[in-house]
Symmetry: C2
Subunit: 324 residues, 2 copies
């Protein structure tokens, strides 16, 4: 099994994605203050982060505007309130969910927007719709990726079929997304290898978006990285749905490229992220997430367990067998 480098290697192909607002927004319904988003934007620039995901491009016909903060919808004026014209080297991305986005109505031509990249999130069974969205966003001038979610539930031949389609599409990269936090490094190793076999000949990259249900988000991210994945998602303080994601502070502490700098992230964490925890927002590894991850189940029941402040982990475990 050929690796693309070891602990000492500087890999110029690596690009770090901050997904704090987008995945973290699933914790607080995207009600971040402008001060928070602006401070994170500046911290990411200073830290050398390559892309910052500003949120979702959700359809206001499906989601009520009053139920969510601005970052669920990422209107152009919301974005510009924070970044102006974004006169920096850091690119901005938004996520577009298949079936929950109206790209034709909501996505401006690239020259009118500060958005650089549209990441299309799809389950394996909605690939044709994802490809349509990718082609449309691409035709407007955006970079695109395809983020195939819940890959631990997908069948290998279906993944291979999706990868074949994507190799012929205008995407920059395809993402391995472990939505359930169910995967271990040896599985990530095999998946990365398979994704690269389809993507490399087409001149495309592979990315990784991991969840921490079994405390594997960082370990899986560096395993994928060492196998050749180059787009690496992380969030400050691991903020993200349920057990959260790969911590930006862990990832930047690990990467050897001197362009990355952990200090602005530490400062943001102590000044902003900790306040959210003090205000009562809950995310991060806990035993209920281990149990849904281990059983390869959607974390929704573990999130409900957390909200209800339950501590009967052993009962919860046995209730999960009814969901399996």
């Amino acid at each position: 099994m050929e690796r693309k480098g070891n602990l000492m290697t500087y890999r110029p192909d690596i690009q770090v994605f901050d997904a704090t607002i987008r995945d973290g927004g699933l914790v607080n319904s995207f009600f971040f203050t402008d001060e928070f988003v602006k401070a994170l934007y500046l911290a990411n620039i200073r830290a050398g982060v390559d892309y910052m995901e500003m949120g979702y491009l959700a359809d206001t016909d499906i989601f009520k505007v009053e139920d969510f903060g601005d970052w669920k919808f990422c209107k152009e004026d919301s974005l510009r309130r924070i970044v102006g014209d974004n006169p920096t080297d850091m690119k901005l991305s938004v996520m577009a969910d298949v079936g929950r986005t109206n790209l034709q109505r909501d996505l401006l031509p690239k020259e009118e927007s500060v958005i650089d990249m549209v990441r299309v999130a799809t389950y394996i069974n909605t690939m044709p719709a994802a490809i349509d969205m990718i082609e449309y966003a691409s035709s407007l001038g955006y970079e695109t990726t395809c983020n195939i979610m819940a890959i631990s539930k997908a069948n290998t031949p279906d993944i291979q079929e999706a990868l074949t389609l994507l190799a012929d599409s205008p995407i920059k990269a395809v993402y391995i997304v472990d939505s359930y936090g169910a995967l271990f490094p040896e599985q990530i190793q095999q998946l990365t290898k398979m994704y690269l076999e389809y993507m490399e000949p087409a001149g495309k990259q592979v990315g990784i978006h991991a969840h921490d249900n079994q405390k594997m988000a960082f370990a899986n991210t560096i395993e994928a990285c060492s196998m050749g994945a180059s787009l690496l998602d992380a969030t400050v303080g691991s903020m993200g749905r349920g057990a959260g994601n790969c911590g930006m502070e862990l990832l930047l502490g690990f990467l050897k490229n001197p362009k990355y700098n952990i200090t602005p992230i530490l400062r943001f964490y102590e000044e902003y992220t900790l306040k959210l925890k003090e205000e009562g927002l809950k995310w991060g590894y806990d035993v209920q997430y281990l149990l849904t991850g281990k059983m390869n189940l959607h974390p929704s029941s573990a999130i409900a367990f957390t909200k209800e402040d339950r501590k009967d982990y052993s009962n919860f475990y046995h209730q999960l067998f009814d969901l399996d």
Copy 2:
């Protein structure tokens, strides 16, 4: 790189060690109630745990008895108060630190003790003293291991010299101990391979004791396991010094041998471990531990940071450079 199995493999050579009282005792100076220790003992038996470490065999000439709970010293009558004659399949171990233990005075002949195994903990530069202790404990009839601590600070030729000595000693196994939580899976992979090259021809095993400074305790444990390490240390709720250890609940959720059962551990966690957290005991991953781990430093400064309830992670990071 040859692996000893994959995710589906049932490995009869694996033995799970519960180190909750011993490593967790470093969090509360070993002041566990008898009820706690007894409940853990019963939970471990029901969970199929192979060894339970009851604490240290510390020298009362060095440590004041009144400053610590009983499990710092593991006197025979303390042990028997919990386990009687231990009429079970689960074996009991104690840890003996080089330079802090008086084996000649404190270790009874095996026939008079419920202890089955003495694990001798040493730094690489005190190997001769460790070998003396191993030979003495062995001569009294005990199983022994050698736990070479802070291996991330040791030089490879020194480790190889130690392994050569240990291959000729009466130990059952030698442990890879990542005291600083500094190591990543690819380093664990190389270390496990090297330890096995020395130990397998001598009919001895390799173990792993990991710390969670960089959220790698579980990932490193299963990496070592898949490379052939067979003695796996874990603690309930990851309770252990600083960032803590590999969680027993994570490890038992992962292992495929049907003899292991996660439910008694979940029940113990919700009934006993959580109470310690509610009472204010602190352990587990946090950013200060990531920083000492990343810099390959002893966690003592991060433990002090935690006790002082400091949150100035970025200052702390830059203070660490003075310790390097």
